[in-house]
């Protein structure tokens, strides 16, 4: 286990992120939803606590918490008044090391997961983005954390115990702590609580293998929901920040290209966003826009055109604005222990180390408009994966094979 500590003595709070290599890529192929169901089950009683005790003790300590399962990791995140930190880490050591995994609660936990699947059915934005992720990264790395109703219903206690035994280990695990904390104290506490946690080798799948494809989901929705993606660079790649700056110029802020040229100048939509996303094995850019059917085709056409056109009229002032935005967010990160703990954990997973603020500042300062254009030409957007949901399918670039 890697233990990372960032003292922020000016705060009243502390936060941590505890991550283990029990993500989606460790799930057996047919067991969709297994990692998430286990993440729920380990929190239904652990160590000396019943399920209700756990909630009561965490509430009384003032712990704001959440958990999630990503492609690589299961993560337990918590922030709290600083005095509660040591007790909180002890509780989570019980959670990941001594869960009761109560068989009599399996059906309830499955029903909870199925409720979530039904809720997603009613959320068109989430539906298109989850499907797009599968198309972008391929069925193995792009699988969703939710599984399907059939796959969740089929899961057994034996599978949960097996997945727990195989994957809840110290190999590649991360404890990132930030806030009003004493690093020496955290180090001793981590040794006491996790020093004898068994180790293991994280299960890692191969490369993303999605292909250019177009899928339309028929629906009587008010809007046509448009999502598309293309290959990009993962966090940690030497040119990642040039790519990130390019996507920032496209989508960060009210003067960004997509917001300005799709929404502000043409009034085509209310929401349009583009984001960089990274796995350990690869990266992609995901774009979403929601718009009524009569404006949908133009929205897709203009969005793709603006993305492909980026290097042709890039103005250095656009890069300058993005740099000010990054500078502000780096400084304001100092106001939040939760935000710092989470970015440390993410750095450790992707890079194997934590980047200092000054290192990031130096990289940002070194980015030039020419560098962004060169990178965009080296890896031009294309081979789009496209998902739409709405009344009618759209015309898409010719290299996308159509499925419905």
């Amino acid at each position: 286990m890697t233990v990372l500590v960032e003292p922020m003595p000016w705060l009243r709070t502390a936060a941590f992120s505890l991550s283990l290599h029990a993500g989606l890529q460790a799930e057996p192929k047919a067991c969709g939803g297994l990692g998430s169901l286990l993440c729920e089950m380990v929190q239904r009683g652990a160590g000396p606590y019943s399920s209700r005790d756990l909630v009561a003790v965490q509430d009384n300590l003032g712990i704001d918490r959440n958990s999630s399962v990503s492609t690589s990791m299961v993560s337990f995140n918590a922030s709290m008044p600083a005095d509660s930190l040591a007790d909180a880490i002890r509780i989570y050591a019980d959670t990941v090391r001594r869960p009761h995994l109560p068989g009599d609660q399996l059906d309830d936990a499955k029903q909870m997961a199925i409720q979530e699947l039904h809720a997603i059915e009613d959320e068109p934005t989430q539906r298109v983005m989850l499907r797009l992720r599968e198309l972008q990264y391929g069925p193995r790395l792009g699988r969703t954390p939710y599984g399907t109703i059939d796959s969740v219903e089929a899961l057994t206690m034996d599978q949960l115990r097996g997945f727990y035994e195989t994957n809840y280990h110290a190999g590649g695990s991360i404890l990132a702590v930030a806030g009003r904390v004493d690093p020496g104290h955290i180090q001793l506490l981590a040794e006491e609580l996790f020093g004898d946690l068994k180790t293991g080798v994280p299960i890692v799948q191969g490369k993303p293998n999605g292909e250019a494809v177009y899928e339309h989901i028929q629906s009587p929705s008010s809007q046509t929901h448009i999502a598309f993606s293309f290959d990009s660079l993962p966090y940690g790649h030497e040119h990642y920040f040039q790519r990130r700056a390019a996507v920032g110029i496209l989508s960060d802020g009210m003067s960004s290209r997509l917001f300005d040229r799709v929404r502000e100048k043409r009034g085509l939509c209310y929401t349009i966003t583009a984001n960089c996303h990274s796995l350990q094995q690869g990266g992609a850019v995901f774009v979403y826009a929601g718009t009524t059917p009569e404006r949908a085709q133009e929205t897709l056409d203009v969005a793709i055109r603006e993305i492909e056109n980026l290097p042709n009229d890039l103005d250095p002032s656009e890069l300058d604005r993005w740099k000010v935005r990054v500078e502000s967010s780096l400084i304001m990160e100092q106001e939040s222990s939760a935000s710092k703990a989470s970015s440390m954990a993410s750095d450790q997973l992707q890079l194997g180390r934590v980047m200092s603020t000054s290192e990031i500042e130096d990289i940002i300062a070194s980015i030039t408009a020419q560098g962004i254009c060169d990178e965009w030409h080296r890896n031009p957007p294309g081979n789009y994966r496209i998902v739409t949901l709405g009344e009618n399918p759209l015309r898409v670039p010719t290299n996308c094979s159509s499925k419905s």
């Binding site: 009384n60 003032g62 059915e121 929901h225 003067s255 935005r325 304001m332 106001e335």
Partner: protein
């Protein structure tokens, strides 16, 4: 400790700030006492549409200038409109304070250019369509309309597609001149703020606000008609919905009521999303996706909302379980431990939120806008810490009821599974 400062300019514009010079950022916002409840039918949606138009240019800036300059400040800037206030805000590094105040002050005298107005109309129509696609598919707005009536507090903030299609620049300009007067506006700031510079900049850049032409109020709407695009049917048909969404509304405390703190904690014990009575009965067991209740406070009125989302076939059994939990809370009251747990959770939440100036801005601005009242964090925490199980039982008896206004969003094409009982 943060220091509270306040001043009223000769124009009537009020300025209030909670200053903590140790902070990394400054949050600054204009709070305008206007929203959906201040509109008549032909203005339906004008407050929110106008909020968008503030970013579309002033006498000295084009729309592109406004967006570009906001981005040049880094940080976060945005705006929102509710039933009774419209807020424009920016969170910036302290070095950008003066520029942020000048820019926000300038955009609040909008050009209201006809071409920009017509383009933005489409964006508003898209925003309305977007919410129509999101659960619970307009059922909250419908519940407000049915409970409060489709005007006043119950008027939908975005307006309707019909009212937005019909909106004209002239109607909007009159609305602006009537509502955006300095005596109805508060400039609030939190965090690392230079208060004297804030006052000086505001004074300098809001001089013309007091000279806006006055317009007389429009005649009231005919209360025996429905505004265009409004229906008050308590059942919304969502043919392809996978779940059923039930919303109930009944009287609750206003933002002025002494009951509000106890009612918030009571709602936490009964109905919050993790560890409440409803959570253990309906969520932890996988019976429902959502089962919750909360007080919605307005300046002079309030409502208790409850919300249940589940499979259509489980609606009847889940609503019975929900009613039983609510009724038991009303009749038998609460245990000391669960009350303490909810207070500890709430107090810790406030302490954590207070670390970012942007989180403190909205409470500060709203309280000063409506009540000229400042309540420090410690004072707010004390008000929660003083509560006990008797206080919660009293408000449960007063506000919990199963005799509520109901709205259901459901696939009514399958009537046997989605009728109201």
């Amino acid at each position: 400790m943060p220091e509270f400062r306040a001043v009223t300019l000769p124009s009537g514009l009020r300025i209030a700030a909670e200053v903590d010079r140790r902070g990394y950022s400054a949050a600054i916002g204009y709070f305008v006492h206007t929203g959906g409840r201040d509109e008549v039918d032909i203005e339906s949606g004008a407050s929110h549409f106008l909020e968008h138009m503030m970013f579309k240019g002033s006498a000295k800036r084009s729309a592109a200038d406004v967006n570009r300059e906001l981005d040049e400040l880094g940080g976060q800037s945005n705006a929102y409109t509710s039933e009774e206030q419209t807020v424009y805000y920016a969170t910036v590094l302290p070095k950008f304070q003066d520029r942020a105040v000048e820019l926000l002050s300038d955009i609040l005298s909008p050009a209201l250019d006809e071409h920009e107005f017509n383009t933005e109309r489409n964006v508003i129509l898209e925003e309305i369509a977007k919410y129509e696609d999101q659960p619970p598919f307009g059922a909250f707005e419908r519940a407000m309309e049915v409970y409060f009536g489709p005007r006043g507090v119950g008027r939908r903030v975005l307006g309707t597609a019909e009212s937005i299609q019909a909106m004209t620049v002239d109607v909007m300009r009159d609305y602006f001149n009537r509502r955006y007067r300095p005596e109805r506006i508060v400039l609030a700031a939190t965090g690392n703020v230079d208060f004297d510079a804030l006052v000086e900049m505001a004074e300098q850049h809001t001089q013309t606000w007091a000279t806006r032409p006055s317009t007389s109020p429009l005649p009231p709407d005919q209360s025996d008609t429905l505004p265009d695009g409004i229906a008050i049917d308590p059942i919304l048909d969502v043919p392809d919905a996978s779940q059923t969404y039930l919303i109930r509304v009944s009287p609750g405390p206003s933002a002025n009521s002494d009951d509000r703190y106890a009612t918030r904690i009571m709602s936490t014990v009964v109905a919050d999303e993790g560890g409440s009575r409803l959570f253990w009965e309906l969520i932890d067991t996988g019976r429902a996706e959502v089962a919750t209740m909360w007080p919605q406070e307005f300046s002079d009125t309030g409502a208790m909302f409850s919300y249940l989302a589940c499979a259509p076939e489980d609606l009847a059994s889940n609503r019975k379980l929900m009613d039983d939990v609510l009724q038991l809370s009303k009749e038998k009251g609460f245990e000391r431990d669960e009350v303490q747990q909810a207070i500890n959770k709430t107090v810790a939440g406030y302490i954590m939120q207070s670390e970012r100036p942007s989180n403190s801005l909205f409470g500060l601005g709203s309280r000063w806008l409506y009540r000229n009242e400042y309540v420090s964090l410690d004072e707010r925490l004390d008000r929660y810490r003083r509560l006990d199980e008797n206080d919660l039982h009293r408000v449960a008896e007063k506000y919990i009821t199963t005799d509520a206004t109901e709205v259901l969003a459901a696939p009514v094409s399958e009537p046997s599974e989605s009728t109201l009982t």
